[in-house]
């Protein structure tokens, strides 16, 4: 699959999965419904010659567990960075419950908890210090921070290691403490880039439970992942991104159209080889 000729090319039209909204004109940007947890319109970014995100529009309904899937280098992380205030988009806008991320960043960021992928933590702090630090940074009072920190560390099964430096944590523990830091201010929306990478199965199951509870209580979760099975099992909505384009989006059932999400994904994205290359391997 190659990059489309024009960034304005309609996306996903040849696929049964309906796009939530048509791509609006760049000029017409009416305020989206504040009940939409994340509204993205015409989001685009290019790095030099490479178009990383090619005009994506997407609505993430409040209370949904949204999966974002795509091959490596598809633009997932770039799109998520732009939606969370880490990277300024070239075009397009993002609203978190009706608040524009790039016009009222402080208000939008208050509603959002972010787990960025591959990012360091302030790892010379202990786990407890890091989560507390994250709470205090968001202007919560000390009392609230202390209670929530203790709760979060307990739920993440980190109470034992609360006094250990984060630099000495395992990969899974590091993810969990980062997640705790992203949740301390009780955000309405959680945006998590690869939250299950390098996490052991038990911790992953615990994190899934926490996220499911969060959604059940009205929160919205967006996760990016490579693992289709996981997304199919865990999420109720899914969006497929490849080469900066949104290929399909909607509820998991709509997108997979009666097949497994993995088959559907491979269909959409392409690039499968038929596994016949290594004849010497079949001894």
């Amino acid at each position: 699959m190659s990059l489309p000729d024009s960034p304005g090319a309609p996306v996903g039209t040849d696929h049964p999965a309906p796009l939530p909204t048509g791509r609006p004109d760049a000029g017409v940007q009416e305020l989206p419904d504040p009940h939409t947890a994340i509204a993205i319109r015409g989001l685009a970014k290019r790095f030099g010659e490479k178009i990383a995100v090619n005009g994506i529009s997407l609505d993430v309904p409040a209370g949904s567990f949204y999966g974002l899937v795509g091959p490596n280098g598809a633009g997932k992380t770039t799109a998520m960075s732009m939606a969370t205030g880490l990277l300024r988009p070239d075009h397009g806008r993002v609203w978190i419950h009706g608040t524009d991320v790039w016009e009222e960043p402080l208000a939008a960021k208050r509603r959002m908890g972010v787990l960025a992928d591959g990012v360091r933590l302030f790892d010379r702090l202990t786990g407890e210090q890091l989560v507390t630090y994250s709470g205090l940074l968001r202007g919560l009072d000390r009392q609230t921070v202390a209670e929530r920190t203790a709760d979060l560390l307990r739920v993440m099964d980190l109470s034992q290691d609360a006094g250990k430096l984060v630099v000495d944590y395992s990969a899974g523990m590091t993810k969990k403490v980062a997640l705790a830091s992203a949740m301390i201010h009780a955000p309405k929306v959680l945006v998590l880039d690869e939250p299950f990478e390098a996490v052991d199965p038990v911790s992953a199951a615990n994190i899934r439970d926490i996220l499911a509870q969060f959604v059940a209580s009205g929160g919205t979760v967006v996760v990016s992942s490579h693992v289709m099975d996981l997304v199919q099992r865990m999420c109720d909505h899914v969006a497929v991104i490849a080469e900066g384009n949104l290929l399909a989006a909607g509820t998991v059932d709509e997108v997979r159209a009666g097949r497994s999400l993995e088959d559907r994904f491979v269909d959409l994205v392409g690039g499968r080889t038929n596994g016949e290359g290594l004849s010497w391997l079949h001894t």
Binding site: T84, G85, L86, L87, R88, P105, L106, A108, K109, R110, M112, G113, V114, A116, G118, V119, R120, L121, F122, D123, R124, L125, T126, E128, Q129, T132, Y133, S134, L136, L137, R138, G139, D141, R142, V145, D161, A162, G163, K164, L165, V167, D168, Y169, S170, S181, A182, H185
Partner: protein
């Protein structure tokens, strides 16, 4: 096996050169320099036969001891050991350490320092070209000597790492390394003094060293040249024993790191619970940032290194004073400390590396960020600078200079903090990454690093110029009025620059948070 390892080592070295032109150029310079040194060493050794046998032996034995010491001290304290062929990487291949270690030792001979050592040892046998028995002894012991240097170096660093946990040992060592670095002048002059005193006794000292791992390798031919064949054979056997011992120690280290099998977290001891400083400073964003910064000053070697520099500088100034008998130089301690500490946080955000993402996603305001970071510094640096100024004035007994010195010291600190408040947000440049040694050369644009760090240093220098000039005038005229003027101008100017710096820094931070983060990310 051995051939494999050697070829791999060579491939890694060559690939390293291919990766960056700068690296290649630096390596070429290094090699050219080494060739020059080796050539000089060879010429020197070739002329040694002019010397009496006793002095020849003494010189070579001491030189050999220096080489061995260098191989132990330099990796531990400065460069860190070359980990491209880290035994732990071979853990999955199931190679027994008794095969792996000799292989790695021989592979060490094809590294630049390894080859240089081997050549240097071999060249030194030129000194014995007038005596056949000595020459015959010299060549095998030279090869053994080079091998020993490599083995003992890996053994020492490996054991240190295996028994103390990699992160901690690296951090502690990287800070201790500051001591010899800063005090090298002092140490050198001490050594020169004692060498002068002991010059006549050097042959005796060398004769003793000859029986230790430091000296046997170069001393054995000396014994042979003097016809002490029994001793020569003894020392030759000792050489073999030393190499075997070093290999054994190295194996011990390798086995240890095999069994630890990447359990890198195991060395961490559970530290005390509780919030520490984070619970004591105000529970606001700025307070939290200040607490975090101070924790980093203590726990992150990249910061602690500048902290350690203060007492070391005190020792240095005191030593210079004791040499000349005039301690007035110590009076500059306060102002220099102020200047240095103010400048120390000029790359604060770059030091956060990508952890800075937390500040961005948490929506920290520029004001909180700037005030927190600068406040963390001033909280301890201001008292420290003042105490140092007072103490040095008291030691020198020059109370009439106190107002000017305080003005200069506090002015430099406040101005530096103000300049840093702008530069750390506005100009991100590559710095050593978290976990790296403070002396690690950061990857990325070296030009930018140089420009920004020099630039902010120059700006800082210009901004302290007014109080500096006033102070010089005060010194020249002896007029007490200028002392007080220095104080007033230093504090006034310092506070103004600080206020402006925080304002500008905050405004930039708020406007370009995402851009700042992206440029940090580029160097992270």
């Amino acid at each position: 096996m051995v051939a494999h390892l050697m070829r791999m080592k060579l491939a890694i070295t060559v690939n390293g050169w291919k990766r960056s032109t700068l690296h290649l150029v630096m390596s070429i310079f290094l090699i050219a320099y080494l060739v020059l040194v080796l050539a000089m060493w060879g010429v020197g050794a070739a002329f040694l036969p002019d010397l009496e046998v006793q002095w020849r032996g003494t010189v070579l034995t001491l030189a050999g001891a220096a080489a061995v010491l260098g191989w132990i001290v330099i990796p531990v304290f400065f460069t860190g050991v070359d980990m491209t062929l880290d035994p732990a990487n071979f853990a999955t291949f199931g190679i027994p350490s008794r095969t792996l270690v000799p292989g790695l030792a021989l592979a060490g001979l094809v590294t630049v320092p390894g080859a240089a050592t081997l050549i240097a040892y071999l060249l030194s046998s030129l000194a014995w070209r007038d005596s056949w028995p000595a020459l015959i002894t010299a060549i095998p012991t030279a090869i053994l000597g080079a091998l020993f240097c490599i083995c003992v170096s890996y053994a020492v660093t490996g054991l240190l790492a295996a028994f103390t946990g990699r992160r901690r040992i690296r951090e502690i060592v990287s800070i201790i390394a500051l001591v010899p670095l800063m005090l090298s002048g002092v140490i050198l002059s001490g050594i020169v003094d004692s060498v002068e005193a002991a010059a006549d006794r050097l042959p005796e000292i060398a004769a003793i060293i000859a029986w230790t791992p430091l000296g046997s390798f170069t001393a054995a031919p000396w014994a042979a040249a003097e016809g002490r064949y029994g001793e020569a054979v003894g020392q030759g056997l000792l050489c073999l024993a030393w190499v075997a011992g070093a290999v054994w120690l190295w194996q011990l280290a390798v086995n240890r790191s095999y069994t630890q099998a990447r359990g890198s977290g195991s060395a961490a001891r559970a530290s005390k619970a509780g919030l520490g400083l984070l619970g004591r400073l105000p529970g606001t964003p700025a307070g939290a940032i200040a607490a975090r910064s101070i924790i980093y000053w203590l726990k992150d070697p990249r910061y602690s290194a500048s902290l350690m520099a203060v007492p070391l500088m005190l020792v240095l100034f005191w030593f210079l004073g004791s040499q000349s008998g005039d301690y007035s130089l110590m009076l500059f301690m306060g102002p220099v400390t102020g200047f240095m500490l103010g400048y120390a946080i000029s790359a604060d955000i770059a030091y956060d590396s990508s952890a800075f993402a937390l500040h961005v996603t948490a929506g920290v305001s520029g004001r909180d960020d700037r005030v927190g970071r600068v406040g963390a510094l001033l909280l301890w640096a201001l008292p420290l600078t003042l105490v140092l100024t007072l103490a040095t004035t008291w030691m020198a007994g020059t109370w009439d200079l106190l107002p000017g010195l305080i003005g200069l010291a506090a002015g430099a600190l406040l101005t530096g903090a103000g300049v840093s408040a702008v530069s750390s947000a506005r100009f991100i440049y590559p710095v050593p990454k978290p976990g790296d040694s403070p002396f690690a050369t950061p990857e990325g644009s070296a030009m930018r690093m140089l420009l920004v760090s020099l630039g902010s240093m120059v700006v800082l220098g210009l901004l302290v110029l007014p109080e500096l000039i006033l102070f010089v005038v005060a010194l020249l005229t002896g007029n007490i009025l200028f002392q007080w003027l220095t104080l007033v101008v230093g504090l006034g100017l310092g506070l103004s620059v600080l206020w402006l710096g925080i304002r500008w820094g905050s405004r930039w931070f708020d406007r370009a948070q995402a851009e700042t983060y992206q440029s940090v990310l580029k160097f992270a």
